[in-house]
Amino acid sequence: MSSTMHDTNDTPAAHARWTEDPVLTVEHLTMRFGGLVAIDDLSFSVGRGDITALIGPNGAGKTTVFNCVTGFYKPTEGRIVLRRGKKPTDASIADLTKTGQQYSREGENGIYLLERMNDFRITATAGVARTFQNIRLFGGMTVLENLLVAQHNHLMRASGFSIAGLLGLPNWRREAKRAKDKAVAWLDRISLLDRADDPAADLSYGDQRRLEIARAMCTDPRLLCLDEPAAGLNPRESAELNDLLRSIRDRDGVSVLLIEHDMGVVMEISDHIVVLDYGKKIADGDSRAVRDDPKVIAAYLGVDDEEVYEVEEDLHRDDPQAASMKTMSEGDQA
């Protein structure tokens, strides 16, 4: 994938890219906790090979979307489809939905209905890996061990579900060596190789963030979901993170979906930005389009209701978001 393709451009073709070949589509997702509606009829797509940012003010429901996508929450309503390989047709997805199965797979191609799958199965079979807002490393294990745990499913098979491993068969030893090499390669890439034998809890905050991303990448995902990867990083670390994410997109060909508050990071690396407020989508587009969107500005600045209407009046686009915006501001102020 050439990097020029990801330069921010606002040609009409770029707008449609993520709808043309999405790796993930979230359709009419609704999540209720008791009476609280955290996400309300949200739909968006994540383009294959894109870095997509999910932004919005605190409490907009971003992490809830993540938890639904990665199976930690079961959505109240809606469909979340992960597509692998050649563009699956809408008809085939509809067929799969009707059968009640979790996924269908033919060789490299596959359709996965994430809302039906368990958290670990989403990572193991659909290939969606995630990181956490509050870093969740295995603090008492070494950096190297953290990356080996991430290769669990592969190694489990290689060790013959421990039988071959207990006997120390050569096939297992080869795979174990390979897994270690892979971990070492990743450590080299995130420049933590000299810390390989230190406990993960001893790393600095920025190093822990990078390690968590590398660990997620060791599961061989197709889609990487990052929950505020730049939180707490200094500018230099932020820049390193940007490079890492770009290389994950370009070198590994993994699509990235990230939640971020640091607008510097978001605007710089995102190919596509989805803006949430009160569980609804208020904007969707590339960075320039989103940056200039008055609704986004209004949401972030937290202007009063009337002003939102005024800002809305100013909009001279007749896209469906404007309508949904209206219902949102009415509904949520109730």
């Binding site: 990665t70 930690f72 958290d119 670990f120 199965r121 989403i122 990572t123 193991a124 890996a129 995630r130 990181t131 956490f132 969740r136 490393l137 295995f138 603090g139 008492g140 294990m141 070494t142 190297l144 061990e145 080996l148 745990v149 991430a150 290769q151 669990h152 499913n153 190694l155 489990m156 060790s159 579900f161 421990s162 491993g165 207990l166 270690k180 070492v184 450590l187 190789l193 390989a196 034998d197 230190d198 406990p199 809890a201 001893d202 660990r215 997620a216 599961t219």
Partner: protein, 486 residues
């Protein structure tokens, strides 16, 4: 700088900070508006504390030391023994005074000599490894050593060693579940019981030998581990603990009441002894001694049993150490660290937990089989909750996840307390008829509390990584999670 005495802009805040720090120290964190109590001297304060402690002990024990109820003619009799009460209050006073005076209130507590210097970066001697190897060598040659140096107590000490090794094995088995996977199992004795009963039933009903029944009993126990584990492994740490305790009790009650199958409270008798390639350790013509043309000595059977349990324990250790380096073992430890992260990495945590449960149960089952064959008789009496608690205590006090810690804790807790029996000194102090074994569990419980408060992470609390890139560094206990209950 020549003007060191002059306050400069740069050092003024530092000085102010120092001052405020000194003030804070002086107040010991008390808010400024509370009036500090007048300071007593160290001696007076220690005396006061000792007095309070003695009074507290007095209040606690007044109904247990002064009065004693016994069944007499026509109901309960009350005996008075105030001297016991006074003695214990005195002991409490003295002990607390010494503690206060020399440790709690002292400027330089005498315990500072015991405190090791903080962990230095340079590579320490692998004491653990040396100690472990030394212990292994001693264990292998123990029967010979005993025979040479302590021939008179040979049999008793060998029996004690067998008992200790049984607990070492049980501890190692439970260590997989509690220490590595971080799942608190309070019903481990259930698998011990399943192993013992399946061994006993298989060997007596189907006339199968020890070496056939042993693996079958282990498998049965593992199966039970999976059956019991499946519904409960979603539970949080302490809930899991209580449910496993409940399961342990259910199994015991069933064993107690299912007369046709288990013999109820009478238990099962006539469990065959293990044989060496078909040779029995008996006086007969086809016995071990006769076959090899040596004199029959009942000790031979003990030595044989000793080596069986040693081999079983070493097998447990070998498998555990090996598994730690396998993906499944690493997943156990990862599970203990953070279950949610495990799930995010695509690890089926139910399977991982079940594998830990089943592996631990299997070794419990092996130990149970050995117990059955050693005793020749089993009854539900041997499988009470207290047994689970002892095994758990060994694992926790040794240091969760530490194999060597389990050995040390078993030797100290089982061997040490058993040896109390032999100390005639105690009888001289407490009068004739003093039976220290009566206090075994009392001391056990107290030691559990004391060691836990003193060293919550157990005796050996560092973790050794399962894999390394350049250098194997020990990981401090403060970083290692112990299964926070998720």
């Amino acid at each position: 700088m020549e003007t060191t005495n002059q306050p400069t802009a740069s050092n003024r805040p530092e000085g102010a900070e120092l001052e405020s720090e000194a003030r804070r120290d002086a107040m010991q964190g008390e808010p400024p508006f509370t009036e500090a109590p007048p300071e007593d001297s160290r001696f007076v304060r220690s005396l006061k504390e000792a007095g309070i402690t003695a009074a507290l002990v007095g209040a606690l024990t007044v109904f247990f030391f002064i009065f004693r109820t016994d069944i007499g003619s026509g109901g309960l009799d009350l005996t008075l023994r105030p001297e016991l009460w006074l003695v214990w209050m005195g002991i409490a006073f003295g002990a607390r005074f010494l503690l206060s005076y020399f440790i709690f209130r002292a400027e330089e507590p005498i315990t500072r000599y015991f405190k090791r210097p903080s962990a230095s970066r340079r590579k320490p001697l692998p004491i653990g490894k040396i100690f472990g190897v030394a212990m292994l060598i001693v264990a292998i040659f123990l029967p010979v050593l005993l025979d040479t140096f302590l021939p008179r107590q040979n049999r008793y000490l060998l029996d004690l060693s067998i008992l200790i090794l049984t607990y070492v094995m049980l501890g190692w088995g439970l260590n997989i579940v509690v220490g590595l996977a971080g799942l608190l199992d309070l019903g481990y004795v259930a698998f011990y019981a399943v192993g013992a009963y399946s061994f006993a039933l298989l060997s007596t009903n189907f006339d199968l030998g020890f070496w056939v029944c042993l693996p079958m009993a282990g498998l049965f126990a593992a199966l039970w581990g999976i059956m019991l584990g499946f519904p409960v492994l979603r539970l949080r740490g302490d809930y899991l603990a209580i449910v496993t305790l409940a399961f342990g009790e259910i199994i015991r009650v069933v064993l107690l009441n299912w007369y046709e199958f288990t013999g109820g409270p009478n238990g099962l008798l006539g469990i065959p002894k293990p044989t060496l390639f078909g040779l029995e350790f008996s006086r007969g013509d086809d016995g071990f001694a006769a076959y090899f043309g040596i004199d029959y000595d009942p000790i031979q059977r003990f030595v044989f049993l000793y080596y069986i349990i040693l081999a079983l324990a070493l097998l447990t250790n070998f498998v555990t150490m090996r598994m730690r380096k396998l993906p499944v073992g690493r997943a156990w430890e990862a599970l203990r660290e953070d279950e949610i992260a495990c799930r995010a990495l695509g690890i089926n945590t139910v399977n991982v937990k079940l594998s830990a449960f089943a592996t631990g149960a299997m070794f419990g089952g092996f130990a149970g089989s050995f117990f059955a064959t050693r005793q020749g008789f089993i009854s539900p009496e041997s499988f009470t909750f207290i047994e689970s608690a002892i095994i758990l205590a060994i694992v926790v006090l040794g240091g969760l996840g530490s194999q060597l810690g389990v050995v040390i804790a078993s030797v100290v807790m089982i061997g040490g307390i058993e040896l109390l029996r032999n100390l005639t000194v105690l009888e001289a102090v407490f009068g004739a008829g003093f039976d220290p074994t009566q206090y075994r569990m009392l001391i056990f419980g107290l030691a559990m509390v004391a060691i836990m408060v003193w060293k919550p992470r157990g005796l050996i609390s560092t973790r050794i990584p399962s894999v390394f890139y350049k250098e194997k560094k020990k990981i401090g206990a403060d970083l290692v999670s112990q299964g926070e209950g998720h």
